[in-house]
Symmetry: C2
Subunit: 241 residues, 2 copies
């Protein structure tokens, strides 16, 4: 095999998909495969790299999942013009997030009421007129200090069980993940001005910038819950890759 690019390692005789990935990434980022390049087919590449098509397929698939390649049947594999640099944020349960820092976690229910969904909520979640919802305000503490203020709406039409839960002991989030299966989720991050509720429960002055996470959840096209999580002063959501 004269033209083989097989990367030799001490023990391995085979080319692993990780090695192939590394080489592909290098060719994309500093090598000859600039943005827009159409790569050779899997068979050809497999031959060149001295591996099976299965392995080449795996490597290409993973690189594609990293956001560097665009793959289409018949059309082939193409280097993305602008690599999609994607940030993956793990959204842990608050409890886990707090306990990871070594702090003691505490949960408290501030208020709970069952109401007819206000218009803006009906619009936002696509509810029917006069839908009933459970509205919760909860607090999450880290070492006794308020860490996160949770403002949650639960669609009682989709989840009648929510009407019987009082949520004074079990957090709504933990109850939901245990009750509702797999669901479609929309998450937004935004900066909001602290309102009266946030001032009352978090360490904010009125109008202060507050980092908020808004999460809407559906299950089988039915809205389940909409929650806004307001964080304490100076909170950052960080990830590395």
């Amino acid at each position: 095999m004269p033209d083989t690019v097989r990367i030799e390692t001490a023990k391995a005789e085979t080319t692993t998909f990780r090695e192939v990935m590394a080489e592909i990434l290098q060719r994309i980022t500093e090598g000859p495969w600039g943005p827009g390049t159409l790569l050779p087919g899997e068979v050809e590449l497999a031959e060149e790299f001295g591996c099976s098509r299965t392995t080449m397929n795996r490597a290409l698939r993973e690189v594609s999942e990293l956001g560097f390649l665009d793959r289409k049947r018949k059309a082939g594999t193409r280097v993305r013009m602008a690599p999609i640099r994607q940030a993956r944020f793990e959204m842990p349960v608050v409890r886990a997030e707090v306990e990871k820092t070594g702090a003691v976690y505490r949960y408290a229910l501030v208020s709970r009421e069952v109401v007819v969904a206000p218009d803006w909520l009906r619009l936002r979640m696509g509810l029917k007129a006069r839908s009933r919802v459970v509205h919760l305000i909860c607090l999450h503490f880290a070492d006794g200090v308020a860490f996160q203020l949770e403002d949650r709406w639960i669609n009682a039409g989709a989840l009648p069980q929510a009407l019987e839960q009082d949520f004074s002991e079990v957090g709504a989030n933990e109850w939901l993940v245990a009750t509702v299966p797999f669901s479609e989720v929309e998450i937004s991050f935004l900066a909001a001005a602290a309102d009266a509720g946030m001032v009352a429960h978090l360490d904010h002055a009125l109008g202060d910038p507050v980092f908020c996470v808004e999460r809407a959840t559906w299950w089988q096209n039915a809205a389940v819950t909409l929650v806004t999580l307001a964080h304490r002063r100076g909170y950052r959501m960080t990830t590395r890759y």
Copy 2:
């Protein structure tokens, strides 16, 4: 095959890894495999599902990547106590983000200076004493309206070419992705209070909540750049999954 759980479809005789995934997810979320459960081995499962171990492996791997399972050699596959719900945010180049909405993109350089890195920056990026950095302030417009204010520091020690670039035409981000290969990145999302610079260039009043993205980049353990992107009023970063 009496105990086979093969999901029958009209045409397919084989059980696909997607079908297996769906069934596994169902068993985790509403079925008998609650949090902490140790699953049977791949061979056993493959037999039960009427597929090859290869397919079962693929299915389990993907479910694991979704954050529901924890896999370890010899130890086996276990259902995570708290499924890691992860949000993936695509971080497009600003130009692409603007143009996707149909708006016209425009770039402008506000200021450019070469200075000795201030202490807080040295600390933040791990620079040597008296390191020189290029400090840029840039603006990104959508349909003529300021969309994003970019405050960027580039380590001239690691990237001497930056000293010769004037960045009046080419955006620093686009120049960097074309110049620096693959790198390690730390991204933070935070809510900040609008300062004088943001008020001057974005549609903010002093102290307004501003959604900011801070991104630090390294290459081979050398700091490359630190950038803060301040967004216009009402900006949200959203993703679905």
